[in-house]
């Protein structure tokens, strides 16, 4: 649910110094009708221009500091609030070339009352200015 709203339009940018980017980032929302503790965000899979990003290069920050996906598993006191915009960043020396990029985000959520994981997915073309 809320699939088409997961990736925030116009949010793709390189990170780090402008002349020597260290990676890239974009903003995203949780595809669910309530907030969820970070320990129940089972996976955030990112692909750019059709190529999957190494999960170890991904960091998530809902506003309380960047966490790796594995650190999120035990972040019991932190929460991705309903509709709230968080930042997903990827370490990649050089960042992304200026111009349009196809960004894919797959969220896999561990919802206690469902026997299966809840999946949410968005694909958008975003531009690095």
């Amino acid at each position: 649910m809320f699939d088409k709203y997961l990736i925030v339009e116009g949010s793709l940018r390189n990170t780090g110094p402008a002349d020597a980017p260290e990676g890239f980032a974009f903003d995203a929302r949780l595809g669910y009708y309530r907030g969820l503790g970070l320990s129940m965000i089972e996976n955030l899979a990112v692909a750019v221009d059709g190529e999957a990003v190494d999960s170890q290069a991904i960091r998530f920050d809902e506003g309380s500091g960047a966490l790796s996906l594995s650190a999120m598993e035990t972040a019991f006191d932190r929460r991705w609030e309903f509709g709230a915009v968080a930042t997903i960043s990827v370490a990649r020396p050089g960042g992304l070339p200026v111009g349009p990029h196809a960004v894919t985000l797959n969220e896999r959520l561990r919802i206690s009352y469902l026997p299966f994981p809840l999946m949410a997915k968005d694909d958008k073309t975003l531009t690095v200015a």
């Binding site: 129940m40 609030e81 009352y113």
Partner: protein, 328 residues
């Protein structure tokens, strides 16, 4: 006579996109005479479960400002909070007590309990529900129904203990008499073909067991992914008997009025309110019918969602079925 209310769940599209605030939702509900407000704290109260006194005060002030009342607190239970193990029974009880206390502090008398919560866990919570004076209503959600053996286990606990603080909370989605047009159209956008769509809808209309239809579509007809997915929705779309409501009346105090979309002339093409509401009136249900609009997720891929208009139409229908003279 039943009373009219709205769950904030109904406005999830606009709340998610920050196009409406909780105050906007309450103001709108009050404007259509639906003064009972159902809250999802984990959706509507940022910072949950660390709710501050200030937030509690703001909630009560908002209700007072619009002449509204809080009807029901929708709890969740994160049994899978940890990856390595399920919550222990003690942890589950502790989490539910936390919610009972918060519900009480926020002024609620009813708490919607997720259907998967075990009856023996709820039995352990009864003393606390009594202490905080909050009724724990286990949500009777499709494809379960009032007589379902899992639901009867909760009824058994309520009967055996004699408590007035444990029972049920029916979701009117159990009365899906006709297949929702919003579901049909979404599957067609995903590639379901007309003849197979027609077959699935006809099977649902005839109340054929879902598994039969799924086998027909998946195996015999070699249906595509969208067609099989559509057939699989039938597992969750049974039509329960509205005449059973009166037999369970002692166990429920609040109702979630699920719907997926109203026609422009304020009729529900899917959920059998025409059958349900006369039953509720006849048996003397005097709690809230709380709108639960869930159509947004079926149409948001192609059109802007207008939750207010959908809720408004549902309340026109409620008033019509209650015998008032109303225009669509």
């Amino acid at each position: 006579m039943f009373k009219r209310g709205v769950s904030l769940y109904s406005f999830q599209e606009e709340l998610f996109l920050r196009q409406m605030t909780v105050e906007d939702c309450i103001a709108f509900a009050a404007s259509i005479g639906a003064n009972g407000i159902e809250l999802l704290p984990e959706q509507n109260l940022p910072g949950f479960p660390n709710i501050t006194d200030r937030q509690i005060g703001e909630w009560k002030d908002l209700l007072a400002k619009y002449g509204a009342v809080g009807t029901c607190y929708d709890m969740f239970l994160d049994t899978k909070r940890r990856k390595d193990r399920l919550m222990t029974d003690d942890e589950q009880v502790e989490s539910i007590i936390r919610d009972l206390k918060l519900a009480s502090q926020l002024g609620f008398k009813n708490m919607r309990v997720l259907i998967f919560v075990r009856p023996d866990i709820l039995e352990r919570c009864i003393p606390f529900a009594e202490q905080y004076d909050v009724h724990m209503g286990v949500e009777v959600h499709a494809p379960w129904y009032l007589d379902h053996p899992w639901i009867l286990r909760t009824v058994d606990v309520a009967d055996r203990t004699g408590t007035q603080h444990l029972g049920l909370l029916p979701d009117m989605g159990i009365f899906m008499k006709h297949y929702p047009p919003e579901f049909r159209d979404r599957f067609m956008r995903q590639g379901a073909r007309q003849e197979i769509v027609d077959f699935i809808i006809d099977q649902h209309e005839q109340k054929v067991m879902a598994e039969y239809t799924i086998y027909e579509v998946a195996v015999k007809m070699q249906g595509n992914k969208a067609e099989i997915s559509m057939a699989e929705t039938l597992r969750h779309a049974p039509y329960a008997n509205p005449k059973r409501l009166k037999d369970f009346l002692p166990y429920f105090k609040h109702i979630q009025a699920k719907f997926y979309g109203m026609t422009p002339d304020s009729r529900d093409p899917s959920i059998a309110y025409d059958d349900v509401i006369p039953e509720l009136i006849a048996c003397g249900f005097d709690g809230y019918l709380s709108s639960e609009y869930e159509g947004n997720r079926w149409i948001q891929d192609v059109e802007d969602v207008d939750s207010r208009e959908q809720v408004r139409r549902q309340h026109v229908m409620f008033r019509r079925l209650a015998g008032e003279t109303v225009e669509a």
